[in-house]
Amino acid sequence: MAQHILETDGQVCPFPLVEAKAAIAELPIGDELVINFDCTQATDSIPRWAAESGYPVTNFDRRGDAEWTITVQKA
């Protein structure tokens, strides 16, 4: 298994989610995608997208003020 990191700090919504969708499409099953973002709305839209897509979330936490990280596993 490999872990891939997607840095989207500075990008406004919906671009973190748009990029996450594009990035995960390239990954083999079982790999993890770490998405770092600072767009507040993505705290709602990214976990919802993961749940709707059936991708397990293995980590979701704050990195600092208005900075978050979420790890989504391709399944």
Partner: protein, 355 residues
């Protein structure tokens, strides 16, 4: 009691920030992901407000009146506004509350929006706006045209929105990941917990109802509104005319206060500087929002959320053309492959082996 504008605006900014209530997102999701959860929440605000407003009208607290429908200006303006909110990354209220979160791109969009609303309403473009808005048809609202009680369309709206909400709530419960909580009790509910779309919509609906009598009491005979107050604020900064500072101006200033408090208290405030392309988009989007809202006679709030609640043609036609405008702009600027930023995905993706 102008201060009630500031207080209500603060409450609205707080709720919108905590609930991630984004009308741009609601309209955009229809096109990008065929998702209508947030549109349903938005229409729930309209339906709740509709009941309250006609009750206030029946009780004689307010007296609803409407102008003839300026169809041409409404169609053009709403489309331009819908297009602009995609570029700006937020509608009128969205731009205010994101400003409170520290997004410099939203500060830029907000300044351009207020400036261009003033230019179009009382500045050099006022003649164009007046000319467009003089093209009217003698229609005001649905119930007047149909010759029925306003409670008939209220009943239809409530039924339709009720069915849509039930449809959304009946979807299989998803196990959505949430952030680890740092607080307990009331502070947890206010600052940590994820606010559902429909809970947020109900609270905003109540705030939208309260806006009517509170604003009315100060002589401003209207409900929630963003564009005219923003235009007045810009004009006040230039002319110093304190007459311009009415209940609506304090309402929009309250949005900044409320969203800042919400963002700061929940660890979601950070000054975020946009890159050059987003800065240019923010200026363009804000300018289109100002012109579009002035022509249409309102933004996503004044038209799509408030004028719809009183069944005005201007509100419903605006709603449709704003959604079309966001769809066209989303297709150009967001759909994967059309955006320069997406090309960088492969380079931005760093891969690490995990043992």
């Amino acid at each position: 009691m102008l201060i009630t504008g500031l207080l209500l605006g603060t409450a609205l900014g707080f709720v919108m920030q905590r609930g991630r209530f984004c009308v741009t997102g609601a309209f955009r999701d229809i096109w990008l992901s065929r998702n209508t959860r947030w549109l349903t929440a938005f229409m729930l605000v309209v339906a709740i407000q509709s009941v309250g407003v006609f009750a206030l009208d029946a009780a004689g607290v307010i007296t609803l009146q409407e102008d003839a429908f300026a169809w041409l200006a409404t169609i053009l303006g709403a489309f331009i506004f819908g297009f602009g909110i995609i570029l700006a990354g937020g509608c009128a209220t969205g731009t205010y509350y994101r400003s409170g979160e520290g997004l410099v791109g939203s500060w830029i969009a907000l300044a351009a929006y207020a400036l261009f609303a003033a230019i179009s309403k009382s500045g050099p473009l006022a003649g164009t706006t007046d000319a467009l808005r003089s093209v009217t048809v003698p229609l005001t609202n649905f119930h007047t045209t149909l010759g029925v009680s306003p409670w008939v369309p209220v009943a239809f709206l409530l039924t339709g929105v009720g069915l849509a909400v039930r449809h959304q709530l009946r979807k299989p419960k998803l196990n959505i990941a949430s952030l680890p909580s740092q607080r307990t009790g009331v502070a947890k509910a206010l600052f940590d917990k994820h606010w559902g779309a429909f809970t947020t919509a109900v609270v905003i609906g109540v705030i939208a109802i309260l806006a009517w009598p509170l604003s009315w009491a100060t002589g401003r005979e209207s409900g929630l509104g963003i564009t005219t107050p923003s235009s007045n604020l810009a004009s006040f900064f230039i002319t110093g005319d304190v007459e311009l500072v009415d209940w609506g101006v304090l309402l929009v200033l309250g949005l900044l206060v409320g969203s800042f408090i919400a963002a700061k208290a929940s660890g979601e405030f950070k000054v975020r500087v946009p890159d050059s392309s987003q800065a240019v988009r923010s200026i363009g989007g804000g300018a289109l929002m100002g012109i579009g809202a002035a022509w249409a006679g309102g933004c996503t709030i004044g038209n799509a959320m408030v004028n719809t609640a009183v069944f005005g043609y201007q509100g419903w036609v605006s709603l449709v053309f704003m959604i079309i405008g966001t769809g066209v702009a989303a297709r150009i600027f967001i759909t994967p492959g059309s955006n320069g930023k997406n090309a960088s995905t492969t380079t931005a993706l760093a891969t690490a082996r995990v043992s």
